[in-house]
Amino acid sequence: MTTPDLLRNAGGETPILAARNLRKSFGRVVAMDGADFDLYPGEILAVIGDNGAGKSSMISALAGAMRPDSGDIWLDGKIVRFSSPMDARDAGVETVFQTLAMAPALTIVDNLFLGREYRKSGIQGAIFRTLDRRRMRAEARHHLSQLGLMTIQNIDQIVETLSGGQRQGVAVARACAFGSRVIILDEPTAALGVKETRKVLDLIRDVRQRGIAIVLISHNMPNVFEIADRVHIHRLGRRIAQIRPSELSMSDAVAIMTGAMEPPEPQLEGSPNVQT
């Protein structure tokens, strides 16, 4: 299927991940009411919205964790239907959930490869299902050092013994490790202290440098305005505005988010080449 024109922005660019008219209701509660979404290659897009605005539902749909009642999702201009997080992951959309989805009693290596372990080649792997532990450890070391996390000294350390920031780092490394094109980060700094937050923001920039587009869901406005190329504002189950942090103040963004202010017209169309 060719790229539908409706997805292209003014610059003729195709979003790497897009959604149109997503709807989802749980009984009488409408979680998504015609939500749209656009993420362009190489950008950091922040998604903000009040509690209950339906951000989580939209993100769940994009991450494959929930199926919308109607509406379409495009990845690289092709319609995709994710029926599980694995589907989304196989297509290159990795999500770092707020809970991090790591088993705390398992080691860093175990967690990095959880659900997609390497087996040894030949009979050992095929019949005895032996894990290729050497390869997994080597790759784990490689991925962690690429993100500057190699000061975690022992990759056989269990995750529980890591600090909150380190855990976040390992979760991000896991998302980056598997050749993904889009990484969705759900509240990556919510549980962290100031210094750790700083490190994680640096980490997010590093990931962007590697050409991966990032969706950042956050309640932390200063963080959002510092790091995002564009901001998607969600309200009452749909996107009501897309702004650039350079063009609007933080308090205006919050006002739009809470409905105290009308969104600016016409709505901004995304472009990846904006530097803030």
């Binding site: 964790a65 599980s84 997080p85 694995m86 992951r89 959930f97 809970t99 991090l100 989805a101 790591m102 088993a103 705390p104 009693a105 398992l106 080691t107 175990d110 959880l114 659900g115 997609r116 372990e117 087996r119 005895f128 299902r129 032996t130 894990l131 532990r133 996390l149 000061t151 975690i152 000294q153 056989d156 350390q157 269990i158 529980e160 013994t161 600090s163 920031g165 380190q166 780092g169 202290g193 210094k195 750790e196 700083r198 490190k199 994680v200």
Partner: protein, 341 residues
């Protein structure tokens, strides 16, 4: 590490206490191993030569073999944060299937042995269906199936024991696990070797295959496991089936141990298996523990009973000591979980 780097993301949590906790967390078998060593030293000081004699120690190994195998099955279940109160009943039911098929229905002994083990697997599958499909708590499900399996085995056996001589004459293969041989001054049985072989196999599965890591992950954090793409219900179901099959093998070892097939064999086996697992350092909350720990747990129970008996203490004080061990083990696990988060 550069000295000016103060950000917590790049520094380890330090301090001796923290390091000890990390080591204990990463190696849950250290504590049972210490208890085992201290116990052996203490009893050899109190009781003396007799306790440390290889024959006595090998006797302990024989005594713990049946419970040890059940505890291996129980370990798998508890690693998934479940519990199986029906392991003893499954074991006895399997042994009755083996005995009655071969003695009363004339099924070839080797075939009835196989059917007996599969019976254990079917019982496990039944537990698994209730737990994964109907999403009932394992405690309740296995409490119910314990009752069900017990009544089935009473019905099937008619409350009758098949005597040793009958089995020896018509189905000697069922007693194979009781075959004893001497290794120096020690006396081992094939059943004990089978237990060690099973333990080795399970250790391999748990630590060297993806399936094994998934068992840990499902028990440790089911949501994380699911989000990582693990089919948690499939893993859970398979664990109950696997545990059932192991209970079936335990039924075979039980026949070797007592020589006969009796419907009264497994009355305390359920709780004894949990005792061994817990003393072996496996957490009842799932996701932590090891096969080696369970073997040590079973040995600790056996050695304490044996040592206390040799020291001349009454059986009731043996139970008392085991009770204290359980509470210490669980208390320690709780404490370790609280401080390590």
């Amino acid at each position: 590490m550069p000295a000016d780097d103060t950000a917590p993301l790049f520094s380890e949590r330090k301090g001796f206490g923290r390091r000890v906790i990390n080591v204990l967390n990463g190696n849950p078998t250290i504590i049972p191993m210490l208890v085992l060593i201290v116990g052996v030293i203490a009893f050899s000081l109190i009781v003396g030569e007799r306790f440390l004699h290889p024959f006595n120690l090998s006797l302990v190994l024989q005594q713990v073999t049946v419970i040890g195998v059940l505890a291996l099955a129980q370990t798998l279940i508890i690693l998934t944060a479940g519990i199986d109160l029906s392991v003893g009943a499954i074991m006895v039911l399997s042994s009755i299937a083996m005995g009655h098929l071969s003695i009363q229905f004339g099924v070839p002994p080797a075939l009835s042995l196989l059917i007996g083990i599969v019976t254990g697997g079917i019982c496990g599958a039944l537990n698994g269906i209730f737990i994964t499909l109907l999403r009932l708590p394992p405690f309740i499900v296995t409490l119910g199936t314990w009752s069900i399996f017990n009544s089935v085995l009473q019905f099937w056996s008619g409350g009758q024991t098949i005597r040793q001589q009958e089995i020896a004459a018509d189905a000697a293969v069922l007693q194979w696990t009781g075959t004893a041989f001497r290794a120096g001054a020690a006396q081992l049985t094939l059943g004990s070797l089978l237990m060690l072989g099973l333990a080795l196999l399970l250790w391999y599965i748990l630590n060297r295959t993806a399936y094994g890591r998934h068992i840990y992950a499902v028990g440790n954090d089911p949501t994380a496991a699911r989000l990582s793409g693990i089919n948690t219900r499939k893993v859970l179901f398979s664990v109950y089936v696997l545990a059932g099959l192991i209970c079936g093998i335990a039924g075979w070892i039980l026949i070797g141990r007592i020589g006969a097939v009796s419907p009264l064999g497994g009355a305390t086996a359920n709780l004894d298996s949990i005792t061994a697992v817990v003393i072996g350092g496996t957490s009842l909350f799932g996701g932590r523990g090891s096969i080696a720990g369970t073997l040590m747990g079973a040995l600790i129970v056996g050695l304490f009973r044996n040592g206390l008996a040799l020291a001349g203490l009454d059986v009731l004080w043996q139970e008392f000591a085991i009770g204290i061990l359980i509470i210490i083990a669980v208390g320690f696990d709780q404490w370790l979980r609280r401080i390590s988060v």
